[in-house]
Amino acid sequence: MSKILFEHVSKQYPGTKTPAVDDVSLEISEGSFVVLLGPSGCGKTSLLKMVNRLIEPTTGKISLNGEDIRSMAVTTLRRQIGYVIQQVGLFPHMTVAQNIAIVPELVKWPRGIIDARIDELLEMVQLPLDFRNRYPAQLSGGQQQRIGLARALAANPEVMLMDEPFGAIDAITRTSLQDQMVVLQQRLRKTILFVTHDVDEALKLADKVVILFRGRLVQNATPCDLLNRPANDFVSQLINSNDRIRQFSLLRVEMVMSNLPKGGALKDQPEVAVGSNLRQVLSAILRPGVDAVTIVDGDLAVGQITFEALRQVGCEEPLE
């Protein structure tokens, strides 16, 4: 079942000629990581904020779990959706623990459970437990956004809305946050709607990328499909589909790996871990006498990627 469903959603701001969001229909399935990608002003943030009703659509309908989001109280709706924004927006007069406790307190969790949850979340975002009593001003930008993420996850929402969460963070920290996000999502399987204008970030994180341009949905595809079959020149230019080495560094092995051949993996094949990118696969496969690599999850072989399969990724000419 679709978790979030947009049906012919449009948004026209007063005093503007063209709609910010123009007749978008979109289905987001449970547990998927969907990235809304496009240049600034393409309507991606407007679309995101309509889900927790910070913005109301002019026309169209949005459902969560099959239920029209206008059928419940707006605070009830928001308390079951995690929300992360670029500027983080931690409460400066509250400690880290108090910040994380906001939503659990709003939905009246018992104190003891909230306390245990705070520790669990700090561990999850890889911050030391003694951060509990720090104030946001005492944290770095990256640490603040980790707390922002922990705060959004606090009451264990099924749906997360993330509005350019790593946009204001330095490149090194951003990469490590993205890597952690991938690991976290493998564990938590939330339904995530994630806005960015960073193509690399989109390809790296997404199960599905939704490309928006001037308020319209241009393409909704997996990262692999997006590289293979960009819907038009705009998409092709946006994702720079000719630079395959760069793309390889963004695509995870899970996206292209195939099942192991009968009889298990070949003995001498190099091994690459789950969660690695295709560029690492490429380096391994370019060694003399190697035709395929085995993908391993810990000690367990879970799949393989052949040189031929690698060649298929993003090799077709973009459609004119």
Binding site: Q87, V88, G89, F91, P92, L106
Partner: protein, 206 residues
């Protein structure tokens, strides 16, 4: 000085009246200005009207304002309190609004996005974050109120103004005028200090 040594209790009683008049007016004034400021916040047109109105009130000379109010509240301390409350509104409102405007919009968006309702945001986010600026407004209003409250003596509210007006009426009782003026200054100073300490405490917490 002799007057003070001969009548310490009289001066003390008048100072007490003065303090009470100022303090109760300030409390009521803050209780009005806080919700008003919160309600007009983010409504530019209403804000302009309300601020304009209290701005005009502030320009009315205090004696004239109190005379206007006598038919409504009588010749007693109530009239004086109402006048003091009216005067302090513009100062308090401006600071309440400045305090609210100084809050990072991202913090408010996060609060809304997490599902806090208007009251929860007001009490748990806006008030604590705007408090230092609001307290600065109360401090400023306190000093102004202490000064204007002296006029209250003319309208039966007592207070340290009694000494000033008596001194004037008794042609040349400079001792009374000196003691009155000095005491008013002292009360204002105490208010200012006390609120400043409170303000620093609150800012430090933020």
């Amino acid at each position: 000085m002799n007057f003070l040594f001969n009548n310490p209790l009289v001066v003390l009683e008048l100072a007490g009246q003065h303090l009470w008049l100022t303090l109760s007016s300030l409390l009521i004034a803050s209780a009005i200005a806080l919700p008003t400021g919160w309600l007009v916040d983010n409504r530019p047109r209403v804000t302009t009207v309300v601020l304009g109105l209290f701005g005009v009130v502030y320009t009315i000379p205090s004696i004239a304002l109190m005379i206007f109010l006598i038919p409504l509240f009588g010749l007693n301390e109530r009239t004086v309190m109402v006048a003091l409350i009216l005067y302090s509104q513009i100062i308090l409102l401006r600071n309440v609004l400045a305090g609210l405007n100084g809050i990072d919009p991202a913090v408010l968006e996060a609060a809304r996005g997490m599902g806090m309702n208007g009251m929860q945001i007001a009490w748990r986010v806006q008030l604590p974050l705007a408090l230092p600026v609001i307290l600065a407004g109360i401090r400023l209003a306190a000093v102004v109120t202490v000064a204007i409250a002296t006029i209250g003596a003319k309208f039966g509210a007592g207070g340290l103004g009694v000494l000033l007006f008596d001194g004037l009426a008794q042609a040349g009782r400079m001792d009374k005028i000196w003691i009155g003026a000095f005491s008013v200054g002292l009360v204002a100073f105490v208010f200012n200090r006390g609120l400043l300490i409170l303000e620093k405490k609150v800012s430090k917490k933020n």
